[in-house]
């Protein structure tokens, strides 16, 4: 069952095109996370869905109903703002009940619904306080309460946790996931936070410059990014990219020149990579945890260690290659490498991605895919 269908949606502010031809289907009860660099149009998309911006081109449907021209409050949508946007002059109780009062519901019913929500979010003792007298986390709860009380078909969250400190963020993240499980509601959630995206999402939508780059489950996006941008965006620490070109191709082997006299030899696992591709520019992608000191014989790189970050459970080292490109290496456990010393690492051949000159992922041949 589809709750929300966005078709061919475009949006521009004056001459600036912010969204280009967005198509997205969100299933009922799904938790969809929108990620993408700052300014890529995530908030704009959310505001279009909410009815805070006019839809000029394209359609948005909830169920079978096209909501392009439906008033914001009649769309069955609730939005939680990054700033919470609680009304400072109203108590928590009034804040939560405001939409019901505007809709002229009987006050006994309002009372009951507000109590229910307060119970759910454990904010009963706060009902008589003003937002100014609450902590960040409590305000967050009230903002969520204000959304829940309307019993919407779709919840929209625009970076709701970004104003909280790390610990509270983890806690609220868990509570939001519990809430999602309990309400079985459809949620669309914008975040900058990798971990939030990967842990909370049923489905992640990666956006760039007003375009959807890829849609998939967190694992799909992590394992099979469709292009270099998605590969670099999903996963921390970020994937290593090494630019070079193909010097020779055989059935078994691929020889690359990374510039600065660095040659890299890797097993050829890619579809359509044959002798005709010689000289083509490519980019090698490898996640830092797939680079290690252990020798695979093949696919080795030599350089000097320039920075070592001790993360406690893991060690993240950055090695500079002779061609001035960097490779990050994530090792389990604590390793005390000396900065400035030469180092040899090898890439796990099974975990190498290859991107063509248009930065698209080159597909693997069947036997490896």
């Amino acid at each position: 069952m589809t709750t929300l269908t966005i078709s061919n949606l475009c949006k521009s502010f004056g001459d600036v095109d912010v969204l280009h031809d967005i198509n997205l289907a969100v299933q009922s009860g799904e938790f969809v996370v929108l990620v993408g660099p700052s300014g890529c149009g995530k908030s704009t998309l959310l505001r279009l869905i909410a009815g805070l911006e006019d839809i000029v081109q394209g359609t948005i449907q909830i169920g079978e109903r096209v909501i392009n021209n439906v008033e914001a409050d009649k769309r069955g949508i609730a939005m939680v703002f990054q700033s919470y946007a609680l009304y400072p002059h109203m108590s928590v109780e009034q804040n939560i009940g405001f939409c019901l009062r505007v809709a002229r519901q009987p006050s006994a019913l309002i009372q009951e619904k507000v109590q229910d929500v307060a119970q759910t979010l454990q904010i009963k003792p706060l009902l008589n306080r003003k937002p100014g007298e609450l902590s960040g986390g409590q305000r967050q709860r009230v903002a969520i309460g204000r959304a829940i009380v309307r019993d919407p078909d779709v919840f929209l969250f625009d970076e709701p946790l970004s104003n909280l400190d790390a610990e509270l963020r983890v806690q609220m993240r868990l509570e939001l996931m519990k809430l999602h499980n309990r309400l079985k509601a459809t949620m669309i959630y914008v975040t900058h936070d990798q971990v939030e995206a990967l842990t909370m999402a049923d489905k992640i939508v990666v956006m760039r410059d007003g375009v959807i780059e890829q849609v998939g489950t967190p694992i799909e996006l992590f394992n099979s990014p469709c292009n270099k941008f998605v590969a670099g965006f999903i996963g921390t620490p970020k994937m290593n990219f090494l630019h070079g070109h193909i010097t020779s191709v055989t059935e078994q082997r691929l020889h690359l020149d990374l510039g600065g006299g660095i040659a890299l030899e890797i097993p050829n696992r890619w579809h359509g990579l044959d002798a005709a591709q010689q000289g083509k520019k490519v980019c090698v992608g490898i996640r830092p945890n797939e680079v290690s000191e252990t020798k695979h014989g093949l696919s080795t790189l030599q350089g000097t260690i320039s920075v070592v970050e001790q993360l406690g459970r893991e060690t993240l080292s950055h090695m500079m290659l002779p061609n001035k490109q960097y490779v990050s290496v994530l090792e389990n456990g604590q390793h005390f490498h000396d900065v400035g010393t030469p180092w040899t690492v090898s890439l796990n051949p099974e975990a190498i991605y290859l991107f063509d000159e248009r930065e698209q992922t080159i597909a693997l041949t069947k036997e490896f895919a």
Partner: protein
């Protein structure tokens, strides 16, 4: 620049402020003292404290009908200021939030009209009011006051509404509020400081306004306080005690308002009511 020692600078500031206070407060205290002195004492001891509190001056003032002036001033102020604030609020909000063609021009026009000096339009205004038969009525005074109060108030509130957090208005929209409901339920309750300071500015202006009142009001029954005071001066040309008592009485409400609202007044001057 020569850096002065901090202490010297502070001393100079105190001396300056002290001198300024003496300058301002001397005539005021002279007014207050004189209002409580018997006529004989005013001339025998013009600058000292009254030897006893004498209320005869006030009795004479009350019996000569200052009450009417008071009432007229009160009516004029209440209606003028209510009108100014109500109209300016809606105008400023529309200018700040509702996009329409020529919005900037309307705003510029309002700003420009603030620069028009009162004296330049006195004669046409008089003829206009005469034509409407509003001379010698309080309405004939209230309408010009509203007209003159609007530009400044719009400018003040426009700046405030521009900075009003948009999120709150959008949240209200999602909660089902119409634009007007948003203004009344969300924007105005949160704009109290700005509205109050706008109102105080106008109260002070209207309460003390003399020139328009002098032009419009000639019959005794409709005169406002500033006009009433001048007629006192003619009536009691040598009764300084009564004159000072009347001045004191007329200044009292404004001073009280000032003291009560001091915080807002200062805030509105320093930060547009925030």
């Amino acid at each position: 620049m020569i850096r002065m020692p901090f202490k010297t600078l502070r001393l100079m500031m105190y001396v300056f402020i002290g001198g300024y206070c003496v300058f301002i407060l001397t005539p005021l205290s002279w007014m207050v003292f004189t209002a409580f002195k018997k006529r004989s004492e005013i001339f025998a001891n013009p600058s000292g404290l009254p030897s006893e509190l004498y209320f005869g001056n006030f009795e004479r003032v009350f019996s000569s009908g200052i009450g009417t002036y008071f009432l007229n001033s009160l009516i004029t102020s209440v209606f003028s200021v209510t009108g100014i604030v109500a109209i300016s609020t809606l105008a400023a909000y529309a200018l700040a939030r509702i996009p329409f063609k020529g919005r900037m021009w309307v705003y510029m026009l309002i700003v420009a009209s603030y620069a028009v000096p009162l004296h330049a339009v006195l004669v046409p205004m008089f003829q206009l009011l005469d034509g409407f038969g509003l001379l010698n009525t309080l309405a004939g005074l209230i309408l010009p006051y509203i007209a003159f109060g609007i530009p400044f108030t719009v400018i003040l509130l426009y700046a405030f509404f521009l900075e009003f957090p948009k999120d709150l208005e959008e949240a209200a929209k999602l909660d089902g509020c119409s634009q007007l409901r948003t203004v009344f339920s969300i924007v105005l309750p949160l704009s109290k400081p700005a509205l109050l300071s706008a109102a105080i500015f106008q109260v002070v202006f209207v309460w003390n306004e003399f020139l328009i009142a002098l032009l419009i009001l000639t019959s005794k029954g409709v005169k406002t306080l500033p006009l009433g005071l001048t007629s006192f001066q003619g009536q009691y040309s040598s009764d300084w005690g009564a004159i000072m008592a009347a001045v004191l009485l007329s200044a009292l409400p404004i001073v009280a308002l000032y003291l009560a609202m001091q915080k807002h007044f200062v805030r509105s001057l320093t930060g547009m009511g925030k």
